[in-house]
């Protein structure tokens, strides 16, 4: 049986590269912290914000239930440690507060595929294939290993997950976990969120044939993508599945007809990439 689930939004960082408190940045009319708490709330028994001791009375953070760090200068892992110490029998859905593109579908997918018999469930980064520690579920069984890890003088949550027993999932929306540490990254994320820029995620159906089917290991899939065009979608999937074919060698069909690579994708589109043909 799964352990009950609490939620933890990490908002104890110093936002040094951003130059401003990341939790307080605006995201879709709210602060990033409020947005993250709202995303989390429907899925957990209680949602907490992780804070440093000196942030407890900060007006933005004071409105939420808090878990206060017990270690100085450990970074995000201090928040998880403190949470596990306070509620050792709960699993923790941990979210960074600086994931402006995180969507509800990505959280739902994570929880639907949660493997509570393992130490954690996390996404495999679409960029480098490594676990993403700051949108993940940590089971009570991870606590002993985490405490030993920190006691050993280490504090990188990603390296912790690499050595833990983790269920790794592919991201349904490869941009969802893009974080924003600098003003430039934040501006890029806000541009992607702006519906006027046409760049929110779309639900797409992709079918694979021949060599691409073999390399993807599947005939079709439904996915969420932030790709604006067929070409961007191919680039995204080529990274994920390590397709050997360059897009220049392929054609693309959208909704059953040949289309230009630059065609903007719309929600619900069915996309087929066409490797070099060899009929007859």
């Amino acid at each position: 049986m799964s352990a009950p689930l609490h939620g933890l939004v990490l908002a104890g960082g110093r936002s040094a590269r951003m130059g401003r408190d990341k939790a307080a940045l605006a995201a879709a009319g709210r602060t990033q912290l409020e947005r993250a708490m709202a995303l989390l709330a429907p899925h957990v028994e209680r949602a907490f914000v992780s804070v440093r001791a000196d942030q407890r009375s900060d007006p933005l953070r004071a409105g939420f239930a808090q878990i206060v760090d017990r270690h100085e200068s450990l970074g995000p892992i201090a928040g998880l440690l403190a949470a596990q110490d306070e509620h050792p029998d709960h699993a923790w859905l941990v979210l960074a507060c600086d994931l402006p593109l995180l969507d509800a579908a990505t959280l739902v997918h994570l929880l639907r595929h949660r493997a509570s018999s393992r130490e954690a469930t996390a996404y495999r980064s679409s960029r480098d294939g490594l676990p993403e520690p700051l949108c993940a579920v940590y089971e009570p069984s991870s606590r002993t290993r985490l405490a030993a890890y920190v006691a050993g003088g280490r504090d990188c949550p990603r390296k912790f997950l690499i050595q833990a027993d983790v269920e790794l999932l592919d991201e349904p929306n490869p941009r969802a976990l893009d974080n924003a540490n600098t003003p430039e990254e934040y501006a890029a994320a806000m541009a992607a969120l702006d519906p006027a820029a046409g760049a929110t995620s779309r639900r797409l159906k992709v079918q694979y044939y021949a060599l691409l089917r073999e390399q993807a290991g599947r005939r079709e899939e439904a996915l969420l993508s932030g790709a604006l065009t067929a070409e961007e979608l191919y680039a995204e999937l080529a990274r994920r599945y390590r397709f050997s074919l360059a897009s220049g060698a392929l054609r693309v069909a959208i909704n059953g007809e040949f289309a230009a690579w630059s065609t903007p994708l719309a929600d619900g589109d069915a996309v087929v990439f066409i490797p070099p043909v060899a009929g007859g």
């Binding site: 990603r158 044939y209 080529a238 069909a253 007809e257 066409i274 043909v277 009929g279 007859g280």
Partner: protein, 159 residues
Amino acid sequence: MPFRFSRTPLDPAALRVALADPACGGFAAFEGWVRDHNEGTPVRRLEYEAFEPLAVREGERILAEASVRFGVAHAACVHRVGELPVGELAVWVGVSAPHRDEAFRACRYIIDEVKHRLPIWKKEHYANGDSGWVNCERCAAPHAHEAAQPHDGRQAHGV
């Protein structure tokens, strides 16, 4: 103008009957067979796969183009999908026209366009046990060699 796929062996005699027309004095057909070698490598069998809805639509466009361009009366094409042994009929094109010249030319046009335009793929299974998708194995992306390296992210992270 019919274009279709078939999962079972083709019968050219039956296909030909459908193109019969008293106004036509010429009939030309092309049959593509599974050959036992390709570029010097012995081939045991072929596997055809198609994105059928688009291939049928594009195939019918080719037949319509041939009809307009050469003034033929009837044209048809059937392509196999699935596993085919050496010697099997893989594609059949048939054209009937008032005179032989347009029948020959339309038939040639149709098979050439079918080979170049239809989303159909062919995997060759070689006598030595290897296999490969025809036309796909030599157009690797420039980064493919890099991407094919063992994933070393763990080392990069010092683990």
